[in-house]
């Protein structure tokens, strides 16, 4: 694997982690304040 695609993979991995973080924060907000 060349350096460029290695870098791309590294970027994609970090981006996916950040997307996951945003989705988790969104879901926690809905769950935390759900009407009981």
């Amino acid at each position: 694997m060349n350096t460029e695609s290695k870098n791309d993979q590294q970027n994609a991995r970090l981006a996916l982690k950040l997307v996951a973080m945003a989705v988790v924060i969104f879901l926690i907000t809905l769950w935390k304040f759900r009407p009981i």
Binding site: L14, A15, L18, V19, I25, T29, F33, P35
Partner: protein, 534 residues
């Protein structure tokens, strides 16, 4: 810090033959400069739209009584003005600056995720249409008009408002997705693509400002998206998150909103606190004073931004202990902000100063934002706050905080880097005229608002007692002067592009940084080989 580098000549040939024509190019482009330009054009367009709306409001407030519009329409105008200026103008302009300049100041070839970058931008125009469509339909007597709750969208008003509110909810979702995508790109670019040798503590302050901003955005926008989703569910799916009649809590909305809304203030401020030191240092011909102190201050402001939100809610009935906590934590923010101010002043102190347009706007930002900050301390006092809350004093305060930041700060940055973008110098004489018109306009618009606010004039009303008439007249005249200044700004930029004097690589004598080592205008692909940092 940086080695001078010559742009690769073969690459320059490629740049020279690059075709900019056609809508397809702009729809499909993944180049950070193209996307930066689109963000900037979109942001300035929305500044004019949001500005036109508030000029309608100021025209109505020129004299007491109802002359031009009904209160319902007035409410739509102030709501759209707020939402458009924050989400349509200030954030896109900052993202435009980040897109254009971030790869250049950290020595990266482009943003890390170019396709995501394109997508992030192209979500914005449909979101703007979604937000404003009910307004224009309302003008044609179709539907109830746009969202009219104020940009804070407080419950229960947001549960009772017409379907303009639903459009606003979806627009907010789209704007949020766009912000999150932009933030992901900024974080990944800075973390993974800095030039070799550029450690975090060697990174330009511009990049630090945007990194903190991106982390804030990615943390707060999902919470806001959750909040508006709850409003949507309350409106259409019989849930009762915020409906007191069903056991919900309207104050919960205020907490969710301000958990986003207060850090949002720093989202608007921090990119500018990152850009301003570059301008001050260039026109003082001195290195930035207190680099480390400024970095730590920005990160401290970012951290404190999460824990002070309820100072917006002192009048909503919270316990004294909670009031004390939010009062002191809010006041604590003035410490890192003061550090930034003193570093900026120390940068200028005993420098070899010259007052070109970017420098004027940077200094104007510091002075006027200082007023915004100091009046914020008054509002942060939980005991004094009920006097000012919901009064025009508060409107004047946050406009003194936000106008110098988002407009004057952005203009300082735009004028500073404009020669690098266009390859031409701007018309200094017109730039200076622009600056003084803005200074006159800001103060004439907002000083009277402090005074009528202290005398008890509430915000968000289309009519007022006769005793406030003179100050409101002056405020309206100031607002129209400000509106005209934005048209002058556009003329200056167009004139610079068409007939400005040719710029050298280093457009300003004292400018330092990687971006000034490449030709002006910067090549389509800036750094094919990453520069090495000592």
């Amino acid at each position: 810090m940086a080695h001078d580098m010559t742009h690769d000549s073969a690459h320059a040939g490629h740049d020279a033959h690059y075709h900019y024509g056609g809508i397809r190019h702009w729809l499909q482009t993944t180049n950070h400069k193209d996307i930066g330009i689109m963000y900037l054009i979109f942001g300035i367009t929305m500044l004019l739209v949001g500005g036109a709306m508030i000029l309608g409001v100021r025209a109505e407030l020129f004299v007491p009584g109802l002359q031009l519009m009904q209160p319902e329409f007035f409410n739509q105008l102030i709501t759209l003005h707020g939402l458009i200026m924050v989400f349509g103008f200030a954030m896109p302009v900052a993202t435009g600056l980040a897109n254009y300049m971030l790869p250049m100041v950290i020595g990266a070839p482009d943003m890390a995720l170019p396709r995501l970058n394109n997508w992030g931008f192209w979500i914005l125009p449909p979101a703007a249409v979604m937000l404003t469509l009910p307004f224009f339909l309302g003008l044609a007597n179709i539907g109830p008009g746009a969202v009219d709750t104020g940009w804070t969208m407080y419950a229960p008003l947001s549960l009772q408002s017409g379907w303009g509110m639903d459009f606003a909810i979806f627009a907010v979702h789209m704007l949020g997705v766009s912000s999150i995508l932009g933030s992901i790109n900024v974080i990944v670019t800075i973390v993974n693509m800095r030039a070799p040798g550029m450690t975090f503590m060697k990174m330009p302050l511009f990049a630090h400002g945007f990194l903190v901003t991106a982390i804030l955005l990615i943390s707060i926008m999902p919470v806001f998206a959750g909040g508006v989703t709850m409003v949507l569910m309350d409106r259409h799916f019989d849930t009762h998150f915020f409906n007191a009649a069903g056991g919900g809590d309207p104050v919960l909305w205020q907490h969710i909103f301000w958990f986003m809304g207060h850090p949002e203030v720093y989202v608007l401020l921090l990119p500018i606190t990152g850009a301003i030191p570059h301008v001050l240092s260039a026109f003082s011909r001195k290195e930035t004073y207190g680099y480390k102190a400024q970095v730590y201050s920005m990160w401290t402001i970012g951290a404190l931004a999460f824990v002070v939100w309820a100072h917006h809610m002192f009048t909503s009935g919270m316990s004294v202990n909670a009031q004390m906590y939010f009062m002191y934590s809010t006041m604590l923010i003035s410490l890192p902000l003061a550090v930034l101010f003193f570093c900026w002043i120390a940068t200028v102190w005993r420098g070899s100063l010259s007052f070109e347009t970017p420098m004027l706007f940077a200094l104007g930002f510091i002075i006027l934002f200082g007023w915004g900050g100091l009046t914020g301390l008054v509002l942060a006092d939980a005991a004094a706050d009920p006097q000012y809350h919901n009064a025009y004093f508060m409107v004047a305060h946050f406009h003194y905080a936000l106008y110098p930041t988002t407009v004057m700060g952005s203009m300082a940055a735009i004028y500073y880097w404009l020669p690098k973008w266009t390859g031409h110098m701007l018309d200094e004489k017109l730039g200076r005229i622009h600056f003084w018109i803005v200074m006159l306009g800001v103060n004439l618009t907002f000083i009277p608002q402090f005074l009528v606010g202290l005398s008890g004039m509430p915000r968000r009303i289309p009519d007022y007692p006769l005793m406030f008439a003179e100050w409101n007249k002056l405020s309206t005249i100031g607002a129209f002067i400000l509106g005209l200044s934005h048209l002058l700004f556009i003329y200056i930029v167009l004139k610079c592009i068409r007939e400005g004097k040719k710029s050298e690589n280093r457009s300003w004598e004292g400018a330092t940084g990687l971006e000034w080592t490449v030709p002006s205008p910067a090549p389509y692909h800036t750094f094919e080989t990453q520069p090495k940092i000592d």
